[in-house]
């Protein structure tokens, strides 16, 4: 049977790249949303906790 280890390594590597990339995207989206909220609050003259 031919050595197919490259395909197996690629499958697992791509899985982790996608998972980590989406975790990073979630962090970025959340940070951006919070920044928008703080900006809107400043415009409204709110104090922040």
């Amino acid at each position: 049977m031919p050595d197919n280890s490259g395909y197996i390594v690629a499958a697992y590597a791509i899985t982790w790249v996608v998972v980590i990339a989406y975790v990073l995207r979630l962090n970025a989206v959340t940070r951006r949303a919070r920044a928008h909220y703080v900006e809107a609050s400043h415009s409204g003259g709110h104090e922040h906790e």
């Binding site: 280890s5 690629a10 499958a11 900006e39 409204g44």
Partner: protein, 250 residues
Amino acid sequence: MSSVDSAVAGPRMRAGHAAPVTRSFAWFGALALVALLGAQLYGVLTSPPDRDMGDLQKIMYVHVPAAWNAFIAYLVVAIASLSYLWKGQERHDLLAASAAEVGAVLTALTLVLGSIWGRPTWGIWWTWDPRLTSTAVLLLIFVGYLALRSFVDDDDRRAQWSAAVGVIGALNVPIVYMSVKWWRTLHQMQSSPSTIDPRYVVGLRLNAIAVLMVLIYFIVQRYRAAQIERAAEHLAERVALGLEGQGARQ
């Protein structure tokens, strides 16, 4: 009520609310990633080679759980979309959109992993097999769903159109699932505990549960970010209308 709860309360937010501070869900994310790593190691290290595919069988532990959990994400989309159409609550729209995004990511991953598995097994990266084609259509529908959300500015119209597309798109899931039974072509029958060698069942179940944990973490985090973003939009609208600010608080 925590500060984040008040911050993401949606259109009926009160004046004088605190800055958004999301309650940490990072511990669950870390647990999900550790579970994923552990399940994958278990599957890779304990599975004997398959009689026909050899060690390529180990790709099943990433390909199949990704597909199953994409289906679960679309089930969430369908339920949340129907809830929005019934009750008109913004949080259902945001939940549907969050699940749709995660579902699209998992569907794309499923297709890529299937392609990597197919090349040494079938000798081709891609073929217009009913299972592959219906999965690609499913992905395109939800990419379209996400594109639709970015093109429509009006909140109500975007939510209504998205809910309709979400429900119709989710109807494709049973077609994808049953495609290997209805049209027997190249793709093998569904990999499930009832159709695979018993020696692979535990590894498959562990990996399915681990990816389910990752799915839950992704959807919850995406939903929370969407809530904060929507709260910021509503607050900005109130500020622009002069309903928020120094004058409004007096």
